[in-house]
Each structure stands twice: as C-alpha cells, then as structure tokens.
C-alpha cells in the first residue's frame, strides 16, 4: 500500500478552517502581552518595578547614554562603509542598543561573553576596539580578535552554536570555583535550534553560571517570531527548570537591572536564567537584505516611538542629568569615533596570501606544510618571467 493511498482512505474532518483557528489561538497567546519588565517608559518616565530596581547616578546614566549613542554611531558608520564598498556585509544593531548596552554594562570584567554576529554594543562595553569587529565583514579575517583579551568570544555565525560554548565555559567557571558568570547572546530565530535547547539542558543539569540573553528583535531575516514559537520566548526556560523573564529591550535601565540580577543569581550558584529582551530590528537583517519584501513600514514606525536612545535622552533632560554641553561633546566624540573607524577600516591591510595556511592547526599538519610550500612555489613562479608552462 502506498502512502498516498493510506492518506486517501482517511476521513477528512479536519478542514482548513481548523488551521485558521489554530493560528488565531497562537496569535492570541502572543498578543495577551506577558509581564515585561520596564523601568523607563518610551516617553522617558521612570517607573518602579517590585522585583527589579536599580539606582544609578547621573554619571552612570550619562555613561549608558553615551554608550548607546556611540554604538549607534559606529553602527551607522559601518553601514556606510559597506555602501562604499569597504565592507562586504554589515549586520546592523540599530534599535537594539538598549538591550546590548544594558546587558553589557551589567557584566563584570571577569565575566565572559559569547556573542552572535550582531553584538557590537556588547563588544563596545567589553572594550573591544570597534575596528576589530569589522575585519570579518571586510573579508580580511573570520574574527580574529583574542577572546581572552576582553573576555569576549569571537562572533559566531552558525545560529545557536555559541550557546553551548557558553554553557561549557560556564561549567568550567564552576569547576574552577570562580564566581564569574557567562552570558550567551542569541536571537529569536536561534531559539528554534536544537543546540539552544541542549544548552538549556546542560546548563540546568550542571547548574552552570550562565545567562541566556535572547534579543527578540521580532524577526529572523524575513520570518516573524510566530514562525519560531507560539508563546513568548522567555517561557521556554521554565520547562528546563530555570527562570525566564521578559524585559523591555528598548529600556536600557531595565536591561541592566534584569541582566545584573540574572548574573548575580548565576554567581550565587543558582544556575542559568533566560532573559528575553523584547526589542526590534530597525534596519535590514544585513546590508544584503531587503525588508520591504516582507514587512510593513508601519511596524517599524511604531517601534520608532520606543527608541531606546530618545527615551533615555528625555529622561536625562527631564531630570537635568545632562546639559547641552554634554550632548554637544558627545556629538563630537561620535564624529571622532566615526572618523577613527572609517580610517581604521580603510587602512586595514589585506591579509597575506600565505595566511590561508596559517592557524589551520596549532601543532602543524604535514599536508598543510606541503600545500603551503607548493602554493609558495606556485606564487613565486609568477614573479619569474618564465612562462606558466614551466611551473612545477
């Protein structure tokens, strides 16, 4: 009996109408907005939260503002550099500054970060030279910075993989008896990858000091979050035995408070936490992407009103925490950063051809040696005036 005939025999009570019901119910659970931790409204008003609170000095608040502004400036510069042909690709963080700066500033120096490819703001908090981030987008390397210099691991492109690295690293931290914590970044799309689920299992079973920081920016390239889950993502954690919390990802104070609390929990030996930062990818997925193919302008506009930088600015101004001179100076600092990055990228040397054969192995490999030598000889043959036919 063929599969087809089996199928044909069956009664057909389930109609396409059922499917409509289902997606409707899925939508319902999506729209009945879950608790979302917020400390600063889109209008820049400070609100209290029973569980998460934070007391920041004007200096610290200005610091967060500065971080976000400079990150956005750097990001814009990179986008421009891509348009100018200096970069092959750029993955913009536009709109996600609060999620990244808030969580990034919650970290201690000895904590360790496992980013995706979009954590430019976190890299900034870690003190990674922004120009360093651009190497892989320019095509001169695959990352190449020293993860241990700033406890900031390499960007990871294969979706979800780094969550397991973070978990293993955190297992190691625990073994060492250290009280550092680890943070793993990933996206809403990544939540579907088996590796992410496995990292939840491992971290829960070993009680590893890791915070899973999911930036739900509503989109995985062209797919909205409904294609990944029918309930809010922060709820995923519960079934693995650790807490999940949704935070306003455009509220830098809330992101800081919630992440700090999760990191402290990890330090206390209470294991992992999932933080879902509810935010929005304001730009294209990358400079190769064309979001007009799949999403409406109105959605973007609605999120514009929740801009993370504007709301902190409103708060700073309202409270008198920052004056015109501050904003002015920051403007200049931004321009200087843009210039530095622009020049840094333009003067970035192309890698030497022989780099193909470097660092394939730490302890060497006979075939790599052989191929390197052949390649060198072949390259040298062009330098010779001899005809190609004579190359051995």
């Amino acid at each position: 009996m063929t599969v087809e005939s089996t199928a044909a025999r069956k009664t057909t009570r389930r109609s396409s109408g059922t499917k409509r019901t289902a997606s409707a119910s899925a939508k319902k659970s999506q729209t009945s907005e879950p608790e979302l931790v917020q400390l600063l409204t889109p209008e820049g008003e400070r609100v209290q939260h029973p569980e998460y609170d934070i007391d920041l000095s004007a200096d610290e608040l200005r610091g967060l503002y500065r971080d976000m502004v400079l990150t956005r400036r750097f990001d814009a510069e990179a986008t421009a550099l891509q348009r100018q042909g200096e970069l092959g690709l750029w993955a913009s963080l536009l709109g996600q500054e609060a999620a990244q700066i808030g969580s990034g500033r919650a970290l201690r120096d000895d904590d360790y970060v496992f980013p995706t490819y979009r954590e430019h703001g976190v890299a900034w908090c870690r003190g990674v030279d922004p120009t360093n981030l651009l190497g892989m987008f320019r095509g001169v390397n695959h990352g190449g910075w020293d993860p241990n210099s700033n406890n900031f691991h390499l960007y990871t492109i294969v979706i979800g993989s780094q969550t397991l690295h973070a978990t293993g690293y955190a297992m190691g931290v625990a073994k060492d008896g250290a009280d550092s914590a680890v943070i793993a970044y990933f996206g809403d799309g990544a939540s579907s990858q088996g590796d992410v689920a496995e990292s939840f299992t491992f971290s829960a079973v070993y009680n590893a000091p890791v915070v899973f920081f999911c930036q739900n920016n509503q989109w995985a390239i062209s797919e909205p979050t409904e294609k990944q889950t029918r309930v809010p993502l922060y709820q995923r954690a519960q079934g693995f035995g650790f807490p999940g919390v949704r935070v306003d990802g455009n509220d830098v104070l809330a992101c800081l408070a919630v992440t700090r609390s999760a990191l402290e929990r990890a330090r206390r030996g209470e294991g992992p936490t999932l933080v879902e930062a509810f935010t929005y990818r304001m730009g294209a997925h990358t400079t190769s992407d064309d979001p007009t193919k799949y999403r409406a302008d109105e959605e973007r506009e609605a999120w514009e009103a929740k801009d993370p930088i504007l709301r902190l600015k409103a708060y700073l101004e309202r409270e008198g925490h920052a004056d015109a001179a501050f904003f002015e100076a920051l403007e200049q600092e931004s321009e200087a950063l843009g210039k530095r990055v622009r020049e840094g990228v333009r003067s970035m040397p192309d890698p030497d051809h022989m780099a193909i054969f470097e660092n394939v192995y730490a302890d060497g490999h006979a075939l790599v040696d052989e191929e390197r030598a052949q390649f060198a000889a072949y390259q040298a043959s062009f330098a010779d005036s001899a005809a190609e036919g004579e190359v051995k």
Binding site: T2, V3, E4, T6, A7, G88, L89, G135, M136, F137, R138, G139, V140, N141, H142, I157, V158, I159, G189, A190, S192, Q193, G194, D195, A220, I221, S222, E223, K227, Q228, S288, D289, K293, Y294, D350, P351, H353, A355, I356, F357, V360, H365, L367, V368, E371, F375, Y378, S381, F382, E388, G389, E390, V391, K392
Partner: protein
C-alpha cells in the same frame, strides 16, 4: 515559454514552479523561502502563487527542516528543502545521513524518500565564513544519497525536475556564484539521463573533469589552452554520486591525460575518487597521473583571500601543463 535565456537562479525558480504545478504533493520548505523568496530570490513569487501550505517558511532549525521533510515524505509528500547556505547544512547532517539516506534500505524498500535538498554552494561571492563551502564529498560518501550539481541554466531546470521526480533523496548543489549567469533553457526539451556526464567541449590532448561552478573555469582554461595549441576536452560531471565513470573513461582513453577540478578541498575530495577509479580503469592509457586542482586543506578563507584559494584559470592551466609535461 519553451526556449528562453535565463539566469541559473531563475531557471531553478521556473523548475520549482513547474514542479509545484505538476504535482500537488510537491512542497517547498526552508528558511525565508516564502515572502522573501529566499536570500537569493530562488523561490521568489512561489509562496504568493502556491500559498503558505505549499511554500513553507520553517523555524530556524535545519535538523527540524530535514526531519519533518522525512515525515512528510512518509506521508506521501515530495518536499524540496532549501538549506540557506552550504555551511548551514551540518545541523541537518545527522537526519540526512542516519535517516534520509538509510530509510529506504531500512524498510527493505517498502518506504521511499523523495526528498530534494537544495544547497547553494561554493565560493567566489565575497561572503563571510560558512557561506562559500563545497561539502559535496561529505554527502557522496554516504550510500543512499544522490549528489548532483548543474552548471548551466538548462541543467539547473531539468536536473531539478528529475531530482524532484526521483524516489531517492537527492542533494542538489547549486553553484551560487553562477546564479546570475544566463544561458538557454528549453522547458519542452526531452532531458537526458540525470546521472550522465556531458562533454562540454571536445578535445584530444587532455581531459578536464569538473562540475558546478568549475565547469565555466575549465571551459575558459580550455579556450586559453587552445590558443597555445593544446586541445582540451571538458567533461561536466553533473553528478558526484553516482559518477559517470564511463564518460570520463572514454574521454581519457582518447586524451590520456586527466585533471579534475573542484572548489572543495582536494584532500579526500571527489577528485580523489575519480583519480583512483580512472587510474584503475585506464591504467595502460594514462600518460600522466590524474592531477587534481581544488581547495587547500584549510578552512575556507576570508573573502579577500578566496581568489587565491579557489581554483582559477591559472591554476587549472598550470595543472594542464604539468600533466602534459609527463
């Protein structure tokens, strides 16, 4: 449309459209294949015309995509799965190797696995890591899979038609850097055998064997060699599993020299299999060892080095010269 000049990507799009029209059991599945039409627009317009039920945006999980495609095949569907880039097929590798490839044998033939996995592969487009690899040998080594790659728009159209019609799982490698190359497609032609190689250019002194993106490079090399008075035959393999050794053998018995060219690393690559088998078949014909031109035993390098890493005209001609010098 009958005869038309189409970019290779568009030929695939047309082929998918035809398959969706001809057989209600055909489904398209993958990440971003719907509204976006895939990151290369290969599935452009298909969801609009055939609906979300047949052109399915999936969760971001390759094992899940292939695993559910297997389930759909068991239910009588014929899923055509898109993996977004070569480097992202590995999360699905377990489902492909342990399940998809072996299900028909495990069931003693009582179950069929008409699943096509489309993978844009290869380099040359200046991309970041994981977007330029050529993992075909990792599939061809696995019994139960068929592995093919077109080099022209016509082959793209027809080989995909045949792959979708096949009751076996087919890994369909699309030469992404040729997506925009135009050539003629006759949608009313009678296609040749799926796993037969094609002599893309005749010659008498040496055979170049290649597939996918390297066929063009070999044709250019053959033209350049011609200017130097060397007559080079180019065989477009089209299929890496099975390999049409008969066609290569016939060519080598004539030319007595063989160079195999692929982007994938040479070490344990398809060139090794071809060299081993052709040497066995043509031991007394070969005047030179079969030479191989391909990637190095190194991760695919950053974009600014890929030209050095990829076999290009010069490296192919160098191998031609070395072979003829024996």
């Amino acid at each position: 449309m009958a005869v038309q000049k189409l970019p290779l990507a568009k030929a695939i799009n047309e082929s998918l459209r035809t398959a969706l029209e001809n057989d209600p059991k055909v489904l398209i599945m993958g990440e971003d294949v719907g509204k976006l039409g895939g990151v290369f627009r290969v599935t452009d317009g298909l969801q609009k015309d055939f609906g979300e039920d047949r052109v399915i945006d999936t969760p971001l999980a390759e094992s899940g995509i292939v695993g559910t495609a297997i389930g759909l095949a068991l239910r009588g569907y014929r899923p055509v799965v898109e993996i977004q880039f070569d480097g992202f097929v590995f999360p699905a590798y377990d489902q492909i190797v342990t399940q998809l490839a072996k299900m028909h044998a495990r069931a003693l033939g009582k179950v069929k696995m008409p699943v096509v996995i489309r993978i844009p592969y290869g380099g040359g487009i200046g991309a970041v890591e994981h977007h330029s690899e050529s993992p075909e040998a990792l599939f061809a080594h696995v019994a139960g899979l068929k592995v093919i790659s077109p080099s022209t728009s016509s082959d793209a159209y027809w080989m995909l038609q045949q792959a979708i019609q096949s009751d076996d799982p087919v890994i369909f490698f699309e030469p992404k850097r040729r997506y925009w190359d135009k050539s003629e497609v006759d949608t009313e032609a009678i296609p040749g055998e799926l796993h037969r190689a094609r002599v893309a250019r005749e010659g008498t002194d040496l055979t170049l064997a290649a597939y996918g993106p390297m066929v063009k490079v070999c044709l250019e090399a053959a033209a350049a060699a011609q200017e130097e008075g060397k007559s080079v035959e180019v065989v477009d393999l089209r299929s890496m599993s099975p390999i049409d050794f008969d066609t290569i053998q016939a060519s080598v018995e004539k030319t007595r020299h063989l160079v195999v060219v692929h982007e994938a690393p040479v070490f344990y690559g398809s060139g090794a299999e071809i060299a081993a088998r052709i040497t066995e078949r043509c031991f007394y014909h070969l005047e030179a060892p079969v030479l191989r031109v391909g990637g190095y035993h190194a991760p695919y390098p950053p974009a600014r080095l890929e030209e050095e890493y990829l076999p290009g005209l010069d490296r192919v001609l160098d191998a031609v010269d070395r072979s003829l010098a024996y």
